[in-house]
Amino acid sequence: MEELLFYAFAALAISSALLVVSLKNTARALFLFFVTLFAMAGLFLFALADFVAITQILVYVGGVLILMIFAFMLSNKELLKDLQSTSSRFIAMPNIQSLLLSIAFLALMTYGIIAWQQQTPEWIMQNIKMNQVIQPTDNNISQLGVKFMTYYILPFEVISIFLLMALIGASQLSRKEGDE
């Protein structure tokens, strides 16, 4: 049952991502990107990362994608017209060089994964032996909160400052020129 659900989510993620990159209409592709992100959040659940899955839905689906669709629809009408290509085909013709390059890269990575499969890293074996693997019954969220505020306090503060800087920079960049 578990494997079946995993394969269903994986197939959903991969097929919808393939459709996202092959659709001609950008608005359609952006809306289809929702499906990909939801399927990825479902895959996170299989790695027992419930909080990451929820954050994925909140931040990506609720924030990033809405921002993209807003920027897409609030911008000029010509932007939309520019994206509609001259040919009326529903699915764009694949660009042969980039297709070749990405398939070669996929083959290389799959080969690497299969070659790596025999030798699991030392720390994974050690943690399995010491029973330090996350179980489905664990309370992940409180543990994550404790780790954020103790062991990972420095990266947490750095990323907070970084996020503030990025938001100020984005609002400065998107300001209309001329109004002081």
Partner: protein
Amino acid sequence: MITLTHFLVVSACIFCIGLYAILAKRNAIMILVGIELMINAAILNFVAFGKYDKLHYGGQIFALFAIVLAAAAVAVGLAIILNVYRHYKTINPDHITDLRD
């Protein structure tokens, strides 16, 4: 039993689809979507390895950091794309050829 290899193969596929989007698309917003796909594949890897690290929860915490970085990247990237569109009247990266006015 879902092993680590399952996650790695799925994330390799998603990563290559994102790579294809970046290489083939002639629209800056779709290139941004391709970058998001690649970041998502990386997050899937983080989370899959983080399952074996109960001591420090390193994988999940850095997955959260990666989500924050991606959100910041999208905010700044979209602002830049809108500025570029205002200046050049196109968002095809092939036509944006000079840095100065």
